[in-house]
């Protein structure tokens, strides 16, 4: 049976387990209908022109893991930001692991989507926010919505500055031959509140995994949200990340995406402005090789006046890897005095590596500042010569240059331990030991 058919029949089985007399049920039903009509995206669609899921969809994925799988903390410790204290919402094969997690209801909610979706005390919030900015049209988002029942639920009350970062990690044990997981996260950051979140998906063995994740983030007035995605998974893992962010007046939201691993990774990152003086930041570093594929598909929808957006994506491609950057900035007629900036720099280290870069600016307002720059190149030979002249061998010199190339993005990581971790991963990716932490 093809995966699409399997999912549709699984939905019926899923319905039997859940409360069908709720509003949620209607949401799920119309979502699965949309998926049924559209199916998985193909390269014929403009938005998927450069990314094909065909090779992944051939796997016979388990949709519901058969049993709860436990993992030892020692085995996975390295994937945590263990140098500092954090809240943790951890899942193993899509199922919440209370053992690995550290949740809270004390002054803020850092807990489970499954509780939020079913317990009456969350109903008002769920009614107000759940599936409100996630697309009801984009096929993979609706597939997630249809099955949405687990993930992280984070609600930060007014004026709460959350001191500890929150880690959301999805582990796959590989105990299923092939696993499809569909995490659903909801993050609400109320007025003047401030939170930092780190999200990671990690396979623990080479069995194929497909993660189709949806995250909705609401930044209310003057809220500050910093969201970091670490994508350094095994090369058997595939990730489709759909993130939707709605921002109110004077809020600041940033998403940093560090893509170093995985087989096929697609990031659909969407920002919607619902107020004035909003600041949105989208940054990414992609360093891949072999036949890895990373696709960044970003949208910033400037619908309101006096808002800013800053995009900066750096990509280094080795071997036969492929990268895609499709950055869309949409400035509506009302969005006067918009200041939108987009930069995308790419380095190709091999003749076989490919980058498809496509800035898309659609501007309907007349008093705006929009700029974009896109470069594709090789490493600067003069800089290489300079470093080699100082006795630094070619490989290390290359690594230093690539680090320097990514530095603008690394510098904007606000959690020092995370910054250190990312630079270590980069040094590892580049295969160098420079005798100092980059």
């Amino acid at each position: 049976m093809e995966l699409k058919e399997k999912l549709i029949s699984s939905f019926m089985a899923f319905e039997e387990k859940i409360d069908v007399n709720s509003d949620l049920h209607d949401v799920r039903t119309s979502a699965i209908k949309n998926f049924e009509n559209k199916g998985f995206p193909t390269k014929k669609e403009e938005a998927w022109k450069y990314t094909s899921l065909n090779s992944i969809l051939k796997n016979d994925f388990s949709v519901f893991p058969k049993h709860e799988n436990a993992v030892d903390f020692a085995e996975v410790k390295k994937y945590f930001l263990h140098e500092i204290d954090t809240y943790k919402v951890i899942f193993v094969d899509g199922i919440f692991s209370s053992f690995l997690s550290s949740t809270t209801h004390d002054g803020l909610d850092v807990c489970l989507m499954s509780s939020a979706l079913t317990k009456p005390k969350y109903k008002m919030v769920i009614d107000e926010y759940f599936n409100k900015i996630a697309s009801k049209d984009e096929t993979l988002t609706t597939l997630n919505t249809a099955f949405a029942n687990e993930g992280a639920y984070i609600n930060i009350p007014k004026s709460k500055v959350v001191e500890k970062p929150i880690e959301i990690i999805y582990f796959s044990t590989g105990k299923e031959n092939a696993l499809l997981v569909q995490p659903r996260n909801l993050v609400i950051v109320n007025e003047n509140a401030h939170v930092q979140i780190i999200e990671r998906h990690q396979s623990l063995n080479e069995n194929p995994v497909l993660t189709n994740s949806v995250t909705e983030i609401f930044a209310q007035k003057r809220a500050i949200v910093d969201y970091y995605k670490i994508q350094n998974d095994l090369q058997s893992a595939n990730l489709i990340d759909n993130t939707y962010i709605a921002q109110k007046n004077q809020s600041h939201a940033s998403v940093h995406t560090f893509s170093f691993g995985g087989n096929i990774t697609r990031n659909n990152l969407n920002f919607y402005h619902q107020g004035e003086h909003i600041d949105s930041t989208l940054k990414g570093i992609t360093i891949i090789g072999n036949k890895q594929h990373v696709d960044h598909y970003t949208l910033v929808n400037h619908a309101t006046p006096n808002c800013e957006s800053h995009q900066n994506y750096k990509t280094i491609l080795a071997d036969s890897s492929t990268g895609v950057f499709n950055g869309k900035i949409f400035v509506e007629k009302e969005a006067q005095k918009t200041d939108a900036f987009q930069q995308n720099n790419n380095i190709l280290l091999s003749d076989k590596a490919t980058i498809n870069a496509k800035p898309q600016l659609e501007i309907f307002a007349d008093d705006v500042k929009c700029s974009h720059g896109c470069t594709i190149g090789q490493l600067d030979e003069n800089a290489m010569f300079y470093m080699q002249q100082r006795g630094i061998p070619k490989k290390e010199a290359k690594a230093l240059l690539m680090y320097a190339f990514s530095n603008e993005v690394i510098e904007s990581i606000k959690i020092p331990e995370l910054k250190q971790r990312i630079t270590k991963i980069i040094a590892m990716k580049l295969g160098v030991n420079l005798g100092f932490d980059l």
């Binding site: 600067d380 030979e381 003069n382 800089a383 010569f385 300079y386 470093m387 080699q388 002249q389 100082r390 006795g391 630094i392 061998p393 070619k394 290390e396 010199a397 230093l400 240059l401 680090y403 320097a404 990514s406 530095n407 603008e408 690394i410 510098e411 420079l434 005798g435 100092f436 980059l438």
Partner: protein, 249 residues
Amino acid sequence: MLSIKNLHASIEDKEILKGINLEVKAGEVHAIMGPNGAGKSTFASIVAGNENYNVTDGEIVLDGEDISELAPEERAHKGVFLSFQYPVEIPGVSVTNFIKTSINENRKANGKEEMPANEMLKLIREKSELLEIDRKFLSRSLNEGFSGGEKKRNEIFQMAMLEPKLAILDETDSGLDIDALRIVANGVNKLKSQNNAVVVITHYQRLLDYIIPDFVHVLMDGKIVKSGGKELAYELEEKGYDWIKNELN
């Protein structure tokens, strides 16, 4: 120490060096002067191993070994240092971390242990004082946002740290004000010994008031057309390069 024989080099079939001969002995300072476009910087770059140029004939012998086929880093490991006319910016890598990496890579290549941290710190302190470099400067990203003068001073600081056998200073005086020039020249002079040699490449005689050459060579159109003592630099300053052109014709 350095013996260059009949060096020919080209880039994309354009011949830039057309048979250069130069003998530099330990303890000596040589100046190479010449008009713009004569090939001075190319010459410096080729001795240091820039792979953009093809050495088509001749040899570069350092302490009895032909180094003309070696990679730039291998030449560096043998004690060749080039102070760049346009040093490169490396964001995110501090001056200190860069020089540490450089020193330890050089030591590693010569079969030595990494320099202990305290020794490194002491050396950095000593050499930054010699070049009157502020400590804060050392934690800045290498050359990023440095003024022309700061870049040059940083080059000489690295030279002081590495203590090369053969130092080639390519237009180190350009971009320096008179105070910086004095500091840089003083640094170079303090590093001079009977065991190393300096080749100064310059367009003007100004730097040679501070770093006094034993020999002055005039490079024109890819060849050394005239050599002499330090008085040749003064003569050039006075009469200009046309004087030599006329003399040759």
